[in-house]
Amino acid sequence: MSSDGAINVPKLINEDGKRIDGRGLEELRKIRMEVGILKRADGSSYVEWGENKIIAAVYGPREAKPKHMQNSLKAIVQCRYSMAPFSVDERKRPGSDRRSVEISKVLSEAFESVLILEQYPRATIDIYVEVLQANAGTRCAAIVAGSLALADAGVPMKDLITACAVGKIDGKIALDLRKEEDNFGMADLPFAFVPSTSQIALLQMDGHMTEEEFKYSIDLAKKGAMQVYEMQKEALKSKYKTDDIETENV
């Protein structure tokens, strides 16, 4: 996040309204998704979002251990977000840190909102997300990857969850900030969304926005997230379509 009164803050939007990587204010970075890429896990996915590289794996439902963790009425959801030491500019010491703990928590809660937990008492659904390369927006990419891995694992869900972040750079609201924009921008708002119910499953914000800017941001985030949602569906369908399985265009 930016520091007020910082010197040498680079210009993030040029005279033609283009950002430092040539994008318009409402343009997503290039995104690529692949499903079912790990052998051991029950479900898995790989997402490249701009320069982010994220891999997600799901184990479960499986019996929760140790026993005291079990909920006798429904499954628990445990998401672990972790960054590889080489994923960031300055090598990150292996092991947990407070930021990862917080992100793990908000991700777990987001996934819980769509998972059908009563069907699996005493069980756990474990979602592991590893960031192999980071360039801002990793928690949104984590939601997208985790959602794909859950579908790939055959875990019942009301819907896929999709996500996209919005921010404020040079006073303007912009979709899908990259690292420099996040570092020098004025606000960052990660957002995750369940399309079929229009429910907001994850929402965080830090920075400075007026109420009007905020509402505009939510609208823009939804638009971005819906584009990502289409890509998620396409990634799942293209993996499992075969000669005698077809898909309907929804």
């Binding site: 029950d42 479900g43 479960g60 439902p61 499986r62 019996e63 006798s72 769509v114 059908i116 699996y120 008492p121 005493r122 069980a123 579908a151 790939d152 694992a153 055959g154 019942p156 869900m157 009301k158 819907d159 896929l160 369940v194 399309p195 079929s196 119910t197 569906k233 799942l236 369908k237 499992y240 379509k241 075969t242 005698d244 399985i245 077809e246 898909t247 309907e248 929804v250």
Partner: protein, 240 residues
């Protein structure tokens, strides 16, 4: 499960979680749910409408037992008067000392079954909280026992019907060609025993092919060809 014949099959439609699969004129079967007047899918799977019930059959699912299922499991825990058995499901199964074919008396449980031992058993009870109980003393076609020879391989439980085939046709064919004893657990664990490593190895290979090609038509013929080729090659080797 699809039958292996030459009919033109209707196209199977893949749906995703949250996809619309029906409306209020239909009823929900497995894998689907109502929101208002619409029916949505819980899974990535194949939409199947039977008798106006909308079902979604997930592409991948974990085995969950029905009472009466024959399962092959591995002892994962030894307690005071019971064992816990890994039956390749979400939960382990409970095996009580009273449900094994031996009289335990005051002896240690590990004298009869220890960690890592394999058993052939039947699912005797499943309750509302999904506690699973298995038994080795129920009567039935298959003799329940501790497995002490042969090997096991595991495939997804959903592919088991393909390995068995229509009225057992596929599994009988494999057993005959390869001169092996094979027991297919409903939980996807398959036990193979035979005199010859080559035959056991080929049986593993065949089952792996069935697993990877379960969706395809003409699978029985494909497997028959493979078995015939293998038989010929064996003849050739013998005559060399």
């Amino acid at each position: 499960m699809s039958e292996d014949n030459n009919e033109i099959k209707e196209k199977r439609v893949l749906v995703l979680p949250g996809e619309l699969v029906g409306n209020k004129s239909m009823k929900i079967g497995n894998g689907a749910y109502y929101v208002g007047n619409d029916i949505y899918s819980y899974y990535m799977g194949i939409k199947s409408i039977k008798n106006n019930y909308v079902n979604v059959i997930p592409l991948k699912s974990k085995y969950f037992p029905n009472v009466g299922d024959i399962v092959i499991g591995t002892i994962s825990e030894v307690a005071n008067s019971n064992w816990m058995v890994d039956i390749n499901s979400i939960y382990p199964a409970f095996l009580h000392v009273n449900d094994v074919p031996w009289k335990i008396g005051k002896k240690e449980l590990t004298e009869f079954l220890k960690m890592g031992d394999l058993v052939l058993a039947e699912v005797s009870h499943v309750d509302e909280t999904k506690h699973i109980t298995i038994s080795m003393t129920k009567m039935g076609k298959v003799e329940k026992k501790k497995i002490e020879s042969g090997i096991t391989i595991t495939i997804p439980a959903s592919k088991v019907p393909r390995v068995i085939g229509k009225s057992g046709s596929m599994i009988s064919m494999i057993k005959e060609y390869l001169n092996c004893r094979i027991i297919v657990g409903n939980n996807g664990v398959i036990w193979i025993d035979g005199k010859n490593i080559d035959e056991i190895s080929e049986a593993i290979h065949i089952i792996e092919i069935i697993d990877s090609q379960a969706q395809r038509n003409g699978l029985t013929d494909t497997i028959k060809n493979i078995l015939n080729n293998w038989k010929e090659q064996k003849m050739v080797k013998k005559n060399e």
